[in-house]
Symmetry: C2
Subunit: 154 residues, 2 copies
DNA sequence: GTGCGACTTCAAGTCCACTTGAAGTCAAGC
DNA sequence: GCTTGACTTCAAGTGGACTTGAAGTCGCAC
């Protein structure tokens, strides 16, 4: 913690404050997601702002982007280090769209589940989702019902 | 597609209708997530209800459960093949809780992003989230801001 | 100037959820 | 009864996101 009051963070400090393992931070750097400067002896030193970039990476992962996609998204921002509001807005809107889709999908799963709780799904005689004729076949591939009467394995 | 009008599905038919690869179906069976019967010659035959169990597995994966967790969740249902409404309700409620948490988390990320779009985040002089003093440190580990002034790699 | 914890690189390992490939068998149509 | 596509098992491979381990160096406090 020797540099904690100075303007650069060691990898250990960054790890402690970002919640990432040092190994993960080196991996991110290798992928080009973050950057470091080096001491004369070759040790990494990070700007404090790297903490915010890591939060950014984490947010992106949270919405389902791979690290490669995060890097690509960052690539859409200009190389000079002060992207314009328009630059950033374009990236952010793409992500927001993705978040909205994910929320909608989760809500749909939740609603299906709610219906099952209401009717005691899995009890074959009562659930509205239960469809003994398997008419899901009419829709092509992909089952359309949440539950059925499959006996449990074992 | 030879058995398409009979009461059991081949693995190819199940794959086509569930949207899973045959290799994935064998893998699921190996994990105990689905079950099959065998023909005299050793080929798998599935009940139509397996389609719904696969939809169930897919829903569970969608909300972030690993296949092991799905199996564990199924293990909470009784071994006899008609779980009661209460049995199922308990499992479903656990999952619903998880979905709600995930939706809340996604909404939070979206709101942060919205704030950034509004102010032209990454442009250091204007964003309310930008915090040159890095006061995130006060909260222990984990950065609290989405963005910063890290120059892009490359 | 020495001790020691924090750092370095590089290669290999891990976990998850599958996929691929090889070598062989089954089953339905002709 | 033969052909052919769909099936079988088993082992190994893949890709993403890291982690672990070995062997060595740095840097700060004393």
């Amino acid at each position: 913690m020797s540099l904690s009051t100075r303007d650069r963070l060691t990898i250990g400090e960054l790890a402690a404050r970002s919640g990432n393992a040092t190994s993960a931070l080196r991996y991110y750097e290798e992928l080009g997601l973050i950057q470091s400067e080096r001491t004369a002896g070759g040790q990494r030193r990070y700007r404090r702002a790297t903490l915010r970039w890591l939060a950014f990476v984490r947010a992106a992962q949270r919405i389902g982007l791979s690290l490669g996609e995060v890097r690509d998204a960052l690539a859409h921002l200009p190389v000079d280090h002060v992207p314009s509001a328009a630059d950033w807005s374009r990236v952010a809107r793409t992500w927001q769209h993705r978040i909205d889709e994910q929320i909608a999908e989760l809500q749909q799963v939740r609603d299906q589940l709610t219906g099952c709780v209401g009717c005691g799904c899995l009890s074959l005689t009562r659930c509205g989702l239960y469809n003994p004729e398997d008419t899901a076949a009419r829709r092509g591939s992909g089952a359309r019902y949440l539950l059925g009467d499959e006996p449990l394995a074992r």
